[in-house]
Amino acid sequence: MENAIKNPGEDGVSNFTVSFGISLAVASVASALLVVAKERDRALMASMKSATGHHWSTHSLFALALFLVVGFALSRLNGGQGVRMTAGALVKTVVGGIVVGSLIIGGYYLLLD
Protein backbone atom coordinates (compact mmCIF):
# COMPACT_ATOMS: atom_id res chain seq x y z
CA MET A 1 0.00 0.00 0.00
CA GLU A 2 1.41 3.39 -0.97
CA ASN A 3 1.51 6.02 1.74
CA ALA A 4 2.25 9.39 0.21
CA ILE A 5 3.20 11.97 2.81
CA LYS A 6 0.92 14.85 3.64
CA ASN A 7 -1.87 15.81 1.26
CA PRO A 8 -1.09 13.92 -1.91
CA GLY A 9 -2.45 15.84 -4.88
CA GLU A 10 -4.65 14.40 -7.60
CA ASP A 11 -1.55 13.69 -9.72
CA GLY A 12 0.09 11.69 -6.90
CA VAL A 13 2.66 14.35 -6.04
CA SER A 14 2.58 15.26 -2.35
CA ASN A 15 2.60 18.67 -0.72
CA PHE A 16 6.14 18.06 0.61
CA THR A 17 7.38 16.97 -2.82
CA VAL A 18 6.20 20.24 -4.36
CA SER A 19 7.28 22.46 -1.44
CA PHE A 20 10.75 20.99 -1.07
CA GLY A 21 11.20 20.79 -4.83
CA ILE A 22 10.68 24.55 -5.05
CA SER A 23 12.91 25.13 -2.01
CA LEU A 24 15.59 22.96 -3.63
CA ALA A 25 15.61 25.21 -6.69
CA VAL A 26 15.60 28.38 -4.55
CA ALA A 27 18.43 27.15 -2.29
CA SER A 28 20.51 26.01 -5.28
CA VAL A 29 20.34 29.36 -7.05
CA ALA A 30 20.78 31.33 -3.80
CA SER A 31 23.80 29.20 -2.88
CA ALA A 32 25.34 29.81 -6.32
CA LEU A 33 24.77 33.56 -5.98
CA LEU A 34 26.41 33.42 -2.53
CA VAL A 35 29.48 31.86 -4.19
CA VAL A 36 29.85 34.90 -6.44
CA ALA A 37 29.09 37.31 -3.61
CA LYS A 38 31.64 35.87 -1.17
CA GLU A 39 34.35 35.62 -3.83
CA ARG A 40 33.77 39.25 -4.83
CA ASP A 41 33.28 40.71 -1.34
CA ARG A 42 36.20 40.14 1.03
CA ALA A 43 34.23 41.40 4.03
CA LEU A 44 31.50 38.84 3.38
CA MET A 45 34.09 36.08 2.96
CA ALA A 46 35.76 37.11 6.22
CA SER A 47 32.45 37.16 8.10
CA MET A 48 31.56 33.71 6.74
CA LYS A 49 34.95 32.41 7.89
CA SER A 50 34.55 33.88 11.35
CA ALA A 51 30.99 32.56 11.75
CA THR A 52 31.95 28.85 11.82
CA GLY A 53 35.73 28.84 11.32
CA HIS A 54 35.48 28.13 7.56
CA HIS A 55 33.52 29.82 4.78
CA TRP A 56 32.53 26.43 3.33
CA SER A 57 30.90 25.32 6.58
CA THR A 58 28.94 28.56 6.84
CA HIS A 59 27.94 28.27 3.19
CA SER A 60 26.76 24.68 3.70
CA LEU A 61 24.67 25.68 6.72
CA PHE A 62 23.16 28.58 4.76
CA ALA A 63 22.11 26.33 1.85
CA LEU A 64 20.70 23.65 4.14
CA ALA A 65 18.83 26.12 6.37
CA LEU A 66 17.33 27.88 3.35
CA PHE A 67 16.23 24.52 1.89
CA LEU A 68 14.51 23.50 5.15
CA VAL A 69 12.96 26.87 6.03
CA VAL A 70 11.58 27.59 2.54
CA GLY A 71 10.38 23.99 2.17
CA PHE A 72 8.47 23.95 5.45
CA ALA A 73 7.14 27.49 4.90
CA LEU A 74 5.76 26.60 1.45
CA SER A 75 4.18 23.41 2.79
CA ARG A 76 2.14 25.51 5.25
CA LEU A 77 0.59 27.77 2.62
CA ASN A 78 -3.08 27.49 1.59
CA GLY A 79 -4.16 26.29 5.01
CA GLY A 80 -1.59 23.51 5.12
CA GLN A 81 -2.33 22.30 1.57
CA GLY A 82 0.91 23.84 0.29
CA VAL A 83 1.69 25.29 -3.12
CA ARG A 84 -0.35 23.98 -6.05
CA MET A 85 1.83 23.11 -9.01
CA THR A 86 1.69 20.50 -11.76
CA ALA A 87 4.37 17.80 -11.80
CA GLY A 88 5.62 19.13 -15.13
CA ALA A 89 6.13 22.60 -13.70
CA LEU A 90 7.77 21.10 -10.60
CA VAL A 91 10.26 19.13 -12.71
CA LYS A 92 11.06 22.27 -14.74
CA THR A 93 11.59 24.21 -11.50
CA VAL A 94 13.91 21.59 -9.97
CA VAL A 95 15.93 21.00 -13.16
CA GLY A 96 16.02 24.75 -13.88
CA GLY A 97 17.30 25.53 -10.37
CA ILE A 98 20.06 22.92 -10.57
CA VAL A 99 21.11 23.91 -14.11
CA VAL A 100 21.13 27.65 -13.36
CA GLY A 101 22.98 27.10 -10.07
CA SER A 102 25.57 24.88 -11.75
CA LEU A 103 26.09 27.35 -14.60
CA ILE A 104 26.56 30.25 -12.19
CA ILE A 105 29.15 28.34 -10.13
CA GLY A 106 30.98 26.72 -13.05
CA GLY A 107 30.80 29.86 -15.17
CA TYR A 108 32.16 32.04 -12.39
CA TYR A 109 35.26 29.92 -11.71
CA LEU A 110 35.83 29.18 -15.39
CA LEU A 111 35.40 32.69 -16.76
CA LEU A 112 35.43 35.36 -14.06
CA ASP A 113 37.63 34.27 -11.15
Binding site: E2, P8, V13, F67, L90, V95, I98, I105, D113
Partner: protein
Protein backbone atom coordinates in the same frame (compact mmCIF):
# COMPACT_ATOMS: atom_id res chain seq x y z
CA UNK B 1 42.89 7.99 11.07
CA UNK B 2 45.16 8.27 8.04
CA UNK B 3 43.99 11.12 5.81
CA UNK B 4 44.17 8.90 2.70
CA UNK B 5 41.74 6.47 4.34
CA UNK B 6 39.41 9.39 5.07
CA UNK B 7 39.64 10.48 1.44
CA UNK B 8 38.90 6.96 0.19
CA UNK B 9 35.89 6.67 2.52
CA UNK B 10 34.61 9.93 1.01
CA UNK B 11 34.92 8.45 -2.49
CA UNK B 12 33.36 5.17 -1.36
CA UNK B 13 30.21 6.82 0.00
CA UNK B 14 30.07 9.20 -2.97
CA UNK B 15 30.12 6.25 -5.38
CA UNK B 16 27.51 4.46 -3.24
CA UNK B 17 25.29 7.53 -3.62
CA UNK B 18 25.87 7.53 -7.39
CA UNK B 19 25.15 3.81 -7.84
CA UNK B 20 22.10 4.07 -5.57
CA UNK B 21 20.66 6.93 -7.62
CA UNK B 22 21.07 4.85 -10.80
CA UNK B 23 19.33 1.96 -9.03
CA UNK B 24 16.42 4.24 -8.08
CA UNK B 25 16.21 5.53 -11.66
CA UNK B 26 16.07 2.05 -13.22
CA UNK B 27 13.72 0.65 -10.56
CA UNK B 28 11.38 3.62 -11.04
CA UNK B 29 11.32 3.00 -14.79
CA UNK B 30 9.93 -0.44 -13.93
CA UNK B 31 7.90 0.51 -10.86
CA UNK B 32 5.14 -1.69 -9.46
CA UNK B 33 3.66 -2.34 -6.03
CA UNK B 34 6.31 -5.06 -5.69
CA UNK B 35 9.39 -2.83 -5.85
CA UNK B 36 7.96 0.32 -4.28
CA UNK B 37 9.44 -0.36 -0.84
CA UNK B 38 12.83 -1.05 -2.41
CA UNK B 39 12.76 2.24 -4.37
CA UNK B 40 12.00 4.16 -1.18
CA UNK B 41 14.62 2.22 0.78
CA UNK B 42 17.37 2.81 -1.78
CA UNK B 43 16.34 6.49 -2.04
CA UNK B 44 16.95 6.77 1.69
CA UNK B 45 20.30 4.99 1.34
CA UNK B 46 21.28 7.50 -1.38
CA UNK B 47 20.50 10.39 0.99
CA UNK B 48 22.34 8.83 3.94
CA UNK B 49 25.37 7.92 1.79
CA UNK B 50 25.53 11.47 0.47
CA UNK B 51 25.36 12.96 3.96
CA UNK B 52 28.18 10.67 5.15
CA UNK B 53 30.25 11.46 2.03
CA UNK B 54 29.62 15.18 2.60
CA UNK B 55 30.68 15.16 6.27
CA UNK B 56 33.82 13.13 5.52
CA UNK B 57 34.68 15.38 2.57
CA UNK B 58 34.09 18.52 4.62
CA UNK B 59 36.32 17.26 7.41
CA UNK B 60 39.08 16.30 4.96
CA UNK B 61 38.76 19.57 3.04
CA UNK B 62 38.98 21.75 6.15
CA UNK B 63 41.66 19.75 8.00
CA UNK B 64 43.89 18.19 5.30
CA UNK B 65 43.43 19.94 1.95
CA UNK B 66 45.63 23.04 2.45
CA UNK B 67 49.00 21.25 1.75
CA UNK B 68 47.56 19.60 -1.38
CA UNK B 69 46.23 22.97 -2.53
CA UNK B 70 49.67 24.53 -2.16
CA UNK B 71 51.23 21.67 -4.17
CA UNK B 72 48.62 21.98 -6.95
CA UNK B 73 49.03 25.76 -7.23
CA UNK B 74 52.82 25.43 -7.62
CA UNK B 75 52.48 22.67 -10.24
CA UNK B 76 51.61 22.63 -13.96
CA UNK B 77 47.86 22.14 -13.31
CA UNK B 78 46.80 25.07 -11.06
CA UNK B 79 43.36 24.90 -12.68
CA UNK B 80 42.85 21.61 -10.80
CA UNK B 81 42.24 23.79 -7.74
CA UNK B 82 41.24 27.16 -9.22
CA UNK B 83 38.48 25.75 -11.41
CA UNK B 84 37.76 22.13 -10.50
CA UNK B 85 38.09 22.14 -6.70
CA UNK B 86 36.43 25.52 -6.32
CA UNK B 87 33.53 24.39 -8.51
CA UNK B 88 33.26 20.95 -6.93
CA UNK B 89 33.17 22.16 -3.33
CA UNK B 90 30.11 24.28 -4.17
CA UNK B 91 28.35 21.95 -6.62
CA UNK B 92 28.21 19.24 -3.95
CA UNK B 93 26.01 21.49 -1.80
CA UNK B 94 23.34 21.18 -4.51
CA UNK B 95 24.02 17.46 -4.71
CA UNK B 96 23.45 17.15 -0.94
CA UNK B 97 20.10 18.93 -1.23
CA UNK B 98 19.08 16.81 -4.25
CA UNK B 99 19.99 13.57 -2.46
CA UNK B 100 18.05 14.75 0.61
CA UNK B 101 15.05 15.51 -1.62
CA UNK B 102 15.06 12.09 -3.33
CA UNK B 103 13.38 10.12 -0.48
CA UNK B 104 10.79 12.89 -0.16
CA UNK B 105 9.94 12.61 -3.87
CA UNK B 106 9.97 8.79 -3.64
CA UNK B 107 7.09 8.94 -1.13
CA UNK B 108 4.67 9.80 -3.96
CA UNK B 109 2.27 7.38 -5.65
CA UNK B 110 4.89 6.05 -8.02
CA UNK B 111 3.06 2.92 -9.10
CA UNK B 112 -0.08 4.73 -10.21
CA UNK B 113 1.08 8.23 -11.11
CA UNK B 114 3.22 9.12 -14.11
CA UNK B 115 3.66 12.62 -12.63
CA UNK B 116 5.10 11.29 -9.36
CA UNK B 117 7.38 8.96 -11.32
CA UNK B 118 8.70 11.79 -13.48
CA UNK B 119 9.76 13.77 -10.39
CA UNK B 120 11.70 10.77 -9.03
CA UNK B 121 13.24 9.99 -12.43
CA UNK B 122 14.47 13.56 -12.88
CA UNK B 123 15.71 13.82 -9.30
CA UNK B 124 17.59 10.51 -9.35
CA UNK B 125 18.95 11.36 -12.80
CA UNK B 126 20.24 14.70 -11.54
CA UNK B 127 21.80 13.06 -8.47
CA UNK B 128 23.58 10.57 -10.73
CA UNK B 129 24.78 13.28 -13.15
CA UNK B 130 26.03 15.63 -10.43
CA UNK B 131 27.69 12.77 -8.52
CA UNK B 132 29.46 11.71 -11.71
CA UNK B 133 30.65 15.29 -12.26
CA UNK B 134 31.88 15.50 -8.64
CA UNK B 135 33.68 12.16 -8.97
CA UNK B 136 35.33 13.25 -12.25
CA UNK B 137 36.40 16.56 -10.75
CA UNK B 138 37.90 14.67 -7.80
CA UNK B 139 40.00 12.64 -10.23
CA UNK B 140 41.27 15.83 -11.90
CA UNK B 141 42.12 17.34 -8.51
CA UNK B 142 44.07 14.19 -7.57
CA UNK B 143 45.89 14.38 -10.91
CA UNK B 144 46.71 18.01 -10.16
CA UNK B 145 48.61 16.89 -7.06
CA UNK B 146 50.25 14.00 -8.91
CA UNK B 147 51.58 16.01 -11.86
CA UNK B 148 52.85 18.68 -9.47
CA UNK B 149 54.81 16.08 -7.50
CA UNK B 150 56.13 14.44 -10.70
CA UNK B 151 57.81 17.63 -11.93
CA UNK B 152 59.56 18.25 -8.60
Amino acid sequence: MNNNVILMLHVLFGVLCMIGSLWVFVDTMNVSEGNLARIRGVSLIVAVAMWIAYFIAGYWYIVFYAPDKAIILKGPWPFAHNIFMETKEHLVMMLLLLATYLPIAAKGRLASSLAARSVVLWTSGLVFGLALVADSFGAIIAMGVKVALLVK
